[in-house]
Amino acid sequence: MLFFHCHHRLKVLALFVAVQILWLVADTLGTARGLAGTNAMDLFGEGGFALFILLWIVFVLASRPAGRVTNLLFFGLCGIFLATLQDFADEFYRFPDNSPITKALESVPATLGILVFSVGLLGWYREQQAFNQRLEKREKFYREHTSLDYITCLYNAGYMLQALNRELDIYQRSKRPLGLLLFDIDNFDGFNRRFGEREGDKLLQDCSELIAMNLRRGDLLCRFSGDRFIALLPDTHQAQASQLAAEINHSMASVAHKCGEHQETAHYTLSIGVASARPDDTADELIRRANQALFHAKRCGKNNCQMAG
């Protein structure tokens, strides 16, 4: 039988024995009242109460994993259950008024039970808190260690920084050239204000796809931040990098984006900063130079590419 295999069989047996003993004690000490002496209202109330406590016991055992907190909850509920059962037995038997056993049976299990149950509830609360904390920690871990941007499905700036450090390492050893492109969509804030952030996200997706189509197989395109993308070009001289940038500018200019509710046509352009690695460059320094070049491109009237000085 399933019952004898479950973790709680000893506890359930103990409760069963306790109920038997209680009934035995009631039978030996008390004298039967007979049906005439019972009050239907009391019978219903106290019997129902005991039944519901029993249901709680079943729920606690069925829903919780075995352990200290479950034991505390179980024994606490058992105490309350036995006390209500004794009250229920009172309806069938008349007990002698001054017997110490009846007095103890009336007051001890209920008090002890509610005390143990309270400690159990406190444990349950702490358990839940620890559980929430762990959940939050896990969420935080995933948030910090995810390297995908979920709008464009490109890698993010954190991943780019790792890749760039790796490539710079290779560059320092092999001296094979390394190029970096930094793209920024012109007037993206204005686009967002006009069409809303959702359309802005769509434009970001379109642009990332268009840039990716113009890149070569070994290049890595990542989303840098906001409307800014960054491409890492291994084995690429500055001249090749600016050639690529010019091609991307050209293809961007010939795409007519459809945006908004009415699918209006809008042309969007990119400003591009080009930088190539120098000996003893750090990742930050290289990105800083590309950023400077990008600012220069913006200053030169946008929709162009500029090389870092």
Binding site: A157, L161, D189, E197, G226, I287
Partner: protein
Amino acid sequence: MNTNMHASADFIDNRQPLPAITHMTLSLVDIWLSLPGAEPHRLLSGSRIFYQDLAKPGYQVNCQQLFVVVKNLLKQPAPEDLGFRLGRRLAPASRDPLNQAMINSITTGQALKLLHAYHRLYSPLFTLRRGIRRGADSPLYLVLSDAVGMGEAGQFLVEALLGKLTGTGKSLEMDTSDWQYFIRRDPPAVMANHQKYLGNRLVFDAPLNGLAIPAYQLRQTLPGASPLSRQQRQQSLQQSLQQRLLLCRQALRGADCRPFLPETVSALLQASLHTSPLGLEGCAQALAMSPATLKRKLKAHNCRFQDLADEVRTLLALDYLYLRGKNSEFTARRLHFNDTANFRRSFKRWTGTLPSRFRTVATNP
């Protein structure tokens, strides 16, 4: 009771609903809802704001509620550039009188002067202070200090204001890539967002939040038509500016533009530093309340009296050391310290570095 009523006429607390705060909250909720899979309740839980209420006309939000919303946002798996994005979104409110006045000024320096003078219209959460310029070639320093007691939401809102200032600069066609930003936090592992929204010239671990605008930009005339036609238009520009400024002044006198309590206390402390510094009792007396009440009210604003006093003294110390190039002895005397060693120790406690670091910067910029 009576004294409280008298004092409450001069400042407001962080539970006062304000239109500017409401606008910020609405923009933040808008940005949040544009993210895939975002639900409003994750942002609004615990803030006593109902999503349905936000659309009602005349519904207003207070600072405390905004801070709860920001704290909720920081717990969510959201992109890290939302602070900057919020700032950019708030930047060019073309209908407000301050922005119109700025557009109507002649040089960028003048526009920024207006921004400083009416900073409470621009951003009620921060006090914007201007550093003394030592000559025509020294940059303009703008220092942002917390006016409300923002607590954990502070970093996010600093990013929002820096983003907004940069956006305003761009809308005035200034070259913001030459601006230098001072940020009071450790450098982030990935600086992409700061580089994208602010630029290359970032100073992390700074003793305060602020920015420096190079002198040459202050002299530039605002964009528009050719210089000649601009000269012709100057007269009308001036008139239009005066009209806008009148609107600004009216707005500033309105009930919603009174300073917050921490800002009021800071102003009292700052004014008293040049003569005899006020203590908690003095400030409480000036605000017509008991010291215990002032303490309790400041606590409700997430700040302590001592922190406010320290901040005011840090600002003055940096002003003497960094901008005016004075030495520690002079600064210590001006800040009412008995000896220089004491001042050095306190300065180290306020900023994490010794005064000498800033003096060297001032002499070789």
